[in-house]
Symmetry: C2
Subunit: 223 residues, 2 copies
DNA sequence: AGGACGCCGATCGCATGCAATCCATGCCTG
DNA sequence: CAGGCATGGATTGCATGCGATCGGCGTCCT
């Protein structure tokens, strides 16, 4: 079986469950745990140094997000990502994040717009500096998160977390060409400008086209 | 504390967890467990006749769906539904179910279209027969579910289950006027026709307007 | 009297044990 | 030799116990 990273004993409340969740999610989405791999509670608990309970709860969370599939008395199996899945995910992201951008344009506070602008600045700097893919991906995530936060919706973050596989996006960003990166930056800027100008239609359209365009790179990443 | 229905010992695998989940979800969404109520694992376990483990997992699922809020060392608190929440939920449903209807128009199989037609027939019959609200709501759900199924998407059902509170919808349908019911039936027919005619634009628009219109009744139901 | 500190109870987080269930393997039978 | 069946092992589902942590309340000090 593929080895999962052994981790140090963590502090804080609910730390074991969250650590198990974070480790598994990272390993699965990064592809280190191949699709089809069986994840056994006891084995994971032993490797992570926890008991079965937190591992079990982490697996249930992952199952709710669709990353693994629970089979009674068999264990949890990593579900495979087909190009169709990625396509579907990105289309839904475009729908939901487009809505988020539109809401942000309508009702973001000055503070939230400021947050978006800072995130965008960091994103541009990380690209100009030729930062490693994981850092660029983090800055990209931060910008998207700032838009969702600026939407003021309580449910959009939940829905997006269900369908957005961060490491999948990271892998896609890692394989961006120079042109892809430039386009990504400029599309982010369009979204930012739209929100600053309270241009709802542009905000929706810019975010939608940004994600629908990124879709192709992401699809290529899994096929 | 509000009493939860004591239930008989259930059969089958994972029965305790699923029963606890079903009971709690029903009680919460129907309003028998008032918003703000604290749900304690030990107390629920005692009332339901299970141990804390399945209750605990049920609560985590409910928290993931946003029905309750977990607070460390305090318990789970029933999250209140404000008119704003209902509005937001219905807008997102309109977005997602509109997408579902569009996809259905594009790629539903003959079998799936047949399913939709049957569900619609049952809905119309239940209304003509003056069936009780809970049955009308069930038929309504069945139609919407048939559209989502016809979309062929694996993720739309998951996303919709996260934001759709069935009993909330049921309560709204219970307070429909005769005109509301007629409108609902006719809008369903528009969706069905659109899918049959492979008219994607109409499918999206009809479903969206159907849900956005129903929104006002639902909002009135919680305020 | 007002505020801060410390103790105590309540509650969750995690560990572990037991029982039920399912799959696979090997044997027996036709 | 093929098919069905019984048995054993592996795995999850659930129960329960213990420790950690947080909130509430009383008390003491200022």
């Amino acid at each position: 079986m593929t080895q999962v990273t052994p981790v140090a004993p963590p502090p804080g409340p609910a730390a074991s469950r969250e650590t198990a969740y974070a480790v598994l999610r990272e390993q699965i989405s990064a592809g280190r745990l191949a699709p089809g791999t069986w994840l056994r509670e006891a084995a994971l608990a032993a490797e992570l140094g926890f008991s079965r309970t937190p591992v079990r709860e982490a697996l249930r969370t992952l199952a709710a997000e669709g990353l693994v599939e629970l089979v009674h008395n068999r264990g949890a199996r990593v579900v495979p990502w087909t190009p169709t899945d990625v396509d579907e995910t990105y289309r839904l992201r475009a729908l939901l994040e487009g809505e988020a951008a539109g809401l942000a344009a309508r009702r973001a506070t000055a503070e939230q717009v400021e947050q978006m602008a800072r995130a965008q600045e960091r994103y541009e700097r990380s690209i100009d500096a030729g930062a490693p893919a994981v850092e660029r991906a983090g800055c990209n995530d931060a910008f998207h998160a700032s838009v969702v936060a600026a939407s003021g919706s309580n449910r959009l973050p939940v829905l997006l977390s269900v369908i957005t596989s961060a490491p999948l996006v990271a892998r896609a960003i890692g394989s961006y060409t120079a042109d892809d990166l430039r386009r990504s930056v400029l599309q982010h800027r369009d979204v930012l400008t739209a929100v600053q100008q309270r241009d709802e239609a542009l905000a929706v359209a810019a975010m939608r086209s940004h994600i629908l365009a990124a879709r192709y790179v992401a699809i290529a990443g899994v096929s």
